[in-house]
Symmetry: C2
């Protein structure tokens, strides 16, 4: 299976560049890289084909569907969806055009809320099973329960490092900080 990599990326020698990581790390990194390239691509394209939406759009709508009133302020939605405010703004515009979400301007400050419409909700309910069947097939069916636990642990550790410093647009740091403060 990994003969491919072995053949196409031969061991370095004096005339070739150094490896920058030790063997264990290098191997883990190659695998991780492949996973986070291939998995999102697979999920995205399936959802696009069978439900006509991207995975990010799905995530946004799913997050809304779980909120009371099916609405949430954009800055919070950005945090939940792991995206920048700018990206979100564009996405909400697209979803609005399709009639799945509408903007409702909030009361305080410049707040804008995104609200899932009934049409959007129906669409989401239709897409959900399709999507999660695929997630199950690609992820949970191939892993043992122990591996799922390991996965959760390791990704949890990684996120703990990533979240506090990720710059999802210049605002995210403050946003995350604020959201954490009010929720603790």
């Amino acid at each position: 299976m990994n003969n491919l990599k072995r053949q196409l990326i031969p061991e370095p020698d004096s005339t070739r560049p150094p490896r920058w990581l030790n063997n264990h790390e290098w191997s883990a990194w190659l695998h991780l890289l492949a996973t986070f390239t291939l998995l999102p691509a697979a999920i995205d394209s399936q959802l696009q084909r069978e439900a006509g939406m991207s995975h990010f759009e799905f995530g946004v709508m799913a997050a809304l569907s779980r909120q009371p009133g099916r609405r949430l302020q954009l800055k919070d939605l950005a945090v939940v969806a792991n995206g920048s405010l700018s990206r979100l703004s564009h996405v909400i515009s697209r979803l609005e055009r399709r009639g799945w979400v509408r903007r409702v301007s909030g009361t305080k400050g410049r707040a804008t809320n995104a609200e899932l419409t009934d049409k959007g909700y129906r669409k989401l309910m239709e897409a959900g099973p399709v999507h999660f069947r695929e997630v199950r097939r690609l992820v949970f069916d191939v892993l043992t329960p122990q591996e799922v636990k390991d996965l959760r642990r390791v990704t949890g550790r990684l996120n703990a490092g990533l979240i506090p410093e990720t710059n999802l647009g210049p605002l995210a740091r403050r946003v995350r900080a604020g959201a954490l403060r009010q929720s603790s």
Copy 2:
């Protein structure tokens, strides 16, 4: 830490949509999702800022640098880089414009090889340490050796399922099959 998620995504009740996955899976999925959204974004933006190239471009050049003659046919490069041929073709054009790679038409069939130039090699040598310092900081410094092993195992399993069926452009399946055949 996860209070955030807990607050912003409350438990479902009768009026809210079902969860589609069980608790363990759901939690693992949320974490995995965050990781493969945040980690590539972090890596990409750092590499872009400090070396003026995307992570994908880095990967392509790094793969070339390890080949004899620092060159490789595009279809094989596509496999190594986990990208579609089309994407690769565009990327190679960009890298050519910057003088880091050149196209060399191969001998058989319609083969085209990409070859890393000296300038590209120097650039890569400059970017490598910068990049891998960040990888180490974000990934390997936060994980224990055991967790690195787990990560490698789990991603290995996932890839085994993903690789054979991933449709990286309509050609990838055949490409992968071919590449595997000739290397086994």
